[in-house]
């Protein structure tokens, strides 16, 4: 592979080819349901799969379609062995049925939570913002 100008496209690689790919990833997550900008419910869940635009969850209860939701997915390793890293996803519940709770992601970013486990509380330190 030879050097060339930065990110030189040799051909066109349509990003949409990757949009619908779902990756089976089972990780613990915490969620909170929002209503009129306030927290209306908290819970724990486990991811079933993660895609570029959404997450499928196995949750303890059924969640109402259309509800705004914030999700914190735990990364299995800690920074320097102590600092949890989490993927924060905000979006809405698309559906909730026997297959799981489907979340449409509108925004996602990584966050670190200091040396304490944040439990059901939101992580504190934003690493970086990314709007998907």
């Amino acid at each position: 592979m030879s050097s060339a100008p930065a990110a030189t496209p040799v051909g066109a690689y349509p990003p949409e080819r990757r949009l619908h790919k779902r990756f089976p990833i089972a990780l613990n997550a915490d969620y909170r349901i929002l209503r009129r900008g306030r927290v209306d419910g908290l819970g724990s869940a486990r991811t079933i799969n993660i895609a570029s635009r959404g997450v499928l969850l196995e949750a303890d209860i059924s969640l109402a379609a259309g509800s705004p939701i914030e999700l914190f997915i735990n990364w299995p390793l800690r920074l320097q062995g102590v600092c949890p890293l989490r993927l924060f996803v905000s979006g809405r519940v698309l559906r909730s049925d026997h297959r799981g709770v489907a979340i449409e992601a509108k925004h996602h970013e990584f966050r670190t939570a200091g040396i304490r486990d944040s439990g059901s509380h939101p992580p504190e330190l934003k690493v970086r913002s990314f709007t998907g």
Binding site: S3, V10, I25, P76, C83, V127, R128, F130
Partner: protein, 132 residues
């Protein structure tokens, strides 16, 4: 999940949260330490917080700041770079990548076993071994 103290660190930078999480989880299972980043800016932020040297960088060459990230990492030590891209190739200015890896596309489910083997072949090919 606990990695041996000398486990090589793999930094993964890609904007697709599903693929990023997937690669990271597989590398962790294979005995490596992975750091997932949704952007080059976040990769640098994570590195500052983890104080960890990077043994291998997997990066989507179309990410903004890709060449700057590689340059920064290479100031600290020699670094092998693998490009995440599709059949059409992109390159990063001044970077000689040792290999490339293509994200899955289409509707077929991804296979954990298949991808574990694919990553093991890649790591063997470029000589990055997990700590024993």
């Amino acid at each position: 999940m606990t990695q041996p103290p000398g486990a090589p660190t793999i930094l993964i930078a890609d904007e697709d949260m599903g693929f990023l999480w997937w690669l990271g989880e597989l590398f962790n299972e294979l005995g490596y330490r992975s750091l997932p980043a949704l952007s080059c800016e976040q990769a640098l932020s994570l590195l500052n917080q983890s104080a960890r040297r990077v043994d291998l960088l997997l990066i989507n060459p179309r990410l903004k700041g890709a060449s700057g990230l590689v340059e920064t990492l290479r100031r600290a030590r020699p670094l092998k770079v693998v490009l995440i891209q599709g059949p059409e190739e992109y390159q990063i200015q001044g970077v000689q990548a040792v290999a490339s890896i293509e994200p899955p596309s289409g509707w077929a489910p991804v296979s954990r076993q298949e991808w574990r083997q694919k990553l093991l072949r890649l790591l063997t090919q470029i000589g990055i071994r997990a700590a024993s």
